[in-house]
Symmetry: none
Subunit: 427 residues, 2 copies
């Protein structure tokens, strides 16, 4: 591969001169926003309908969103500007972590959240600065210590809870240990001690017929974590010896608490998250949002929003069921959930947010029963919108929208701009 | 120039903190794909009509593609999704090298193929790991050694072949030397020896009235190459002394065999290339594709495709004549070639590829008689397409397509996603 042009010609020497003068790294979007941000008391609402985007069941047909009766969203569209949000990059289907980081304005390829942390967020375990969170899998080993079932025969969640209770008695000198059940063969291990690194290999060999790996750290701080993990695993083996089914565990995705710059640091916004599911409260907490009491329904969320209206600048509302119905392959169910979402729009608009965004963290087409890479319909409503020709909220119409197709990580700078919270860059 | 904010204020110190915490390099697309890729036996066909995009002869008129009768492409459009591919960046007209690298998913600004290598590919010279390939230009020097004609009066290709035969007798101690004619004043020199570098300046001064430069290496390995090149040039001068017209040569674009990650390494795909022209077989070989026997017509290519269908996952078919008619400024000729291309579509669809893409490596508008930067009409056909309103394959309609305008380097991640070969990014 040619790294640089060969020297000699006049053109080439000019090229070298320019390259030598170029700053190596362009200014980051976060630094730019931080430099330009202003405070003005405006309010931004980001309503995330998880997995909002969809597909028609037949080519040329309507998607879930296009099939739904959404008078309130369509009304929002009229004075707003629409577009399609690409969660990560073309073709990349994100999990909830990267999907939300993008919407919060963090490049999901730059800010990666470890599996252990996401697993802990999902069960509402609040990971602290001295913690390393790890995903655990219960497994079955034979008398020689070799794995014969990587998922211990997929035990019931009740059995998982029972075994976790037993493991909660384990003490490892030099650290606090937390063992929390997740589901079936999955649990979360959190090791808490000062100065722990997280560059530790998975002990899960991802194969049967071999023994679990020993944990090793890539640096002294991570070796400390590895030593504690190995000490924990030795006791797990002793405690569960002789059991059938679950008699050992493997560990994956060692991850320390990420030190992500907060919403307040970047945007100067005071943010409140209203999410019913723990995972999304956890993601919001990662970027420094205050976690409000969201209750259990959209109505509860709208009530909480109104009650907190004067105390925050930014409100993240999360609605899960557009994703879960999509994952179930339930087209009419997803349509119904979108209509339910539509029903809450007037209560939010009644608060007169300066910027009101409705979008999703990714698509979850019922046809695919999974997260997908397809761009996500998005409305941005504000007084400064350059309105477009979109008249109904849906994938086809959003393709004609004024926001075009954009990477999700740019949504927050658009929100800040429309909120009047970004000054001019350069004189 | 504001290099960094002046320190002192709280906002400034926060800015420094954020910059310090930002990972300097986001994950690359190739690493991401490598991490997410899955195998599922699906088949992807990439049909590249070289220089496909065009321009109307008069403003508001139809392009070559829009003028062509293309019932089969139009039928493909109906269940597919369309868009416009930007080969490199807006305004940048690529050669065949960057154009194809982009389509293969390699950022053409990151992966640069040296001129010597492209020249060698074009004449079907298979460059090996110990080779440095160089473009040679025959020139005319005067008695004092100064260049008086940089192209030796543009000799006939026959004369070029004749002189190359003479130069093929040159022996340089410590290396194998290959001299191959290209066309008129152009030839390829390949120096083969272990441990050669390619950071060597051009000896072509790109001016008359001065002597050719001496080759110099920027490092010891490249100096070895430079010494061999200088020894070769000394013998060229001796051998051709006294000739009129061609009596010397200059060298440009020293380039070692690039070590590009292969298609299989990045995508886990087993790729077959079916291209009639050597340059495109060479480009495919660069990224590790197997080179099939493409025969000499589209029908031969379709036959070879069907015969190899079970042995590969990915098929690159190249059609040259949409570009060459464009380069000739032959509008009706290009229309005819597009119609010929259209005729082969049913034979490809009969194989039922999971993903079928039709695009070009760049535009070659007959009106301009050259490669251009204009975005290239693209169809992606797969079961997971979010269909759009495009009904006929053409530049204007593709502008309304669901893929929007996208950088060519993202086409492969879209292909992988639609083939069901990419898992979810993050939990």
């Amino acid at each position: 591969m040619k790294k640089a042009p060969s020297p000699g010609s006049k053109a080439d020497s000019l090229l070298y001169t320019i390259q030598a003068r170029e700053p190596t790294v362009p200014m980051s979007l976060h630094s730019l926003i931080q430099e330009l941000r202003e405070k003005n008391g405006s309010k931004i609402v980001l309503l995330v309908a998880d997995g909002l985007g969809g597909l028609p069941l037949e080519p040329g047909g309507k998607t879930e969103l296009e099939s739904a009766h959404t008078p309130n969203l369509d009304d929002l569209v009229k004075d707003g500007v629409c577009g399609l949000s690409v969660p990560v990059l073309p073709g990349i289907s994100p999990g909830s972590g990267p999907g939300h980081l993008g919407l919060f304005g963090y490049d999901p390829l730059q800010w990666r959240i470890g599996r252990g942390i996401l697993e802990a967020l999902g069960i509402n375990f609040q990971v602290g600065p001295n913690d390393v969170a790890i995903r655990g899998n219960f497994c079955t080993i034979d008398a020689s210590g070799k794995i014969i079932d990587r998922r211990a025969g997929r035990p019931s969640t009740e059995r998982c809870i029972e075994v976790c209770r037993k493991l909660q008695t384990i003490k490892v000198p030099g650290a606090e240990i937390f063992v929390e059940p997740v589901k079936e063969h999955r649990f979360v291990l959190v090791i808490r001690a000062a100065g722990l690194g997280d560059a530790v290999n998975d002990t899960d060999p991802q194969a049967v017929g071999v023994a679990p790996f020993v944990a090793k750290g890539a640096d002294p701080a991570s070796q400390k974590t590895a030593d504690l993990a190995n000490a924990f695993l030795a006791q797990v083996k002793q405690l569960l010896a002789g059991e059938t089914g679950i008699n050992m565990a493997t560990l994956r995705g060692f991850a320390g608490n990420p030190t992500i710059p907060t919403f307040e640091e970047i945007y100067g916004l005071k943010p409140l998250a209203l999410a019913v599911y723990p995972m999304y409260r956890g993601l919001a907490r990662l970027v420094g949002m205050t976690i409000g009491n969201a209750g259990s329904t959209l109505d509860d969320q709208a009530t909480a929003l109104a009650a907190a209206w004067n105390d925050y600048d930014f409100f993240f509302l999360h609605f899960k069921y557009t994703d879960s119905t999509g994952e179930d392959g339930n087209f009419p169910g997803k349509v119904e959930m979108i209509e339910r979402l539509d029903g809450i729009i007037p209560r939010i608009r009644a608060l007169k947010p300066d910027v009101f965004i409705v979008t999703g963290d990714h698509s979850t087409p019922s046809k695919m029963k999974s997260h997908s890479w397809h761009p996500v319909p998005t409305i941005l409503h504000a007084a400064t919108c350059r309105t477009d020709r979109v008249t109904e909220f849906g994938e086809s119409q959003c393709l004609m929208g004024g926001l075009g197709q954009f990477e999700a990580k740019y949504l927050m700078s658009l929100a800040m701009a429309h909120a009047g919270r970004l000054g001019k860059y350069g004189a």
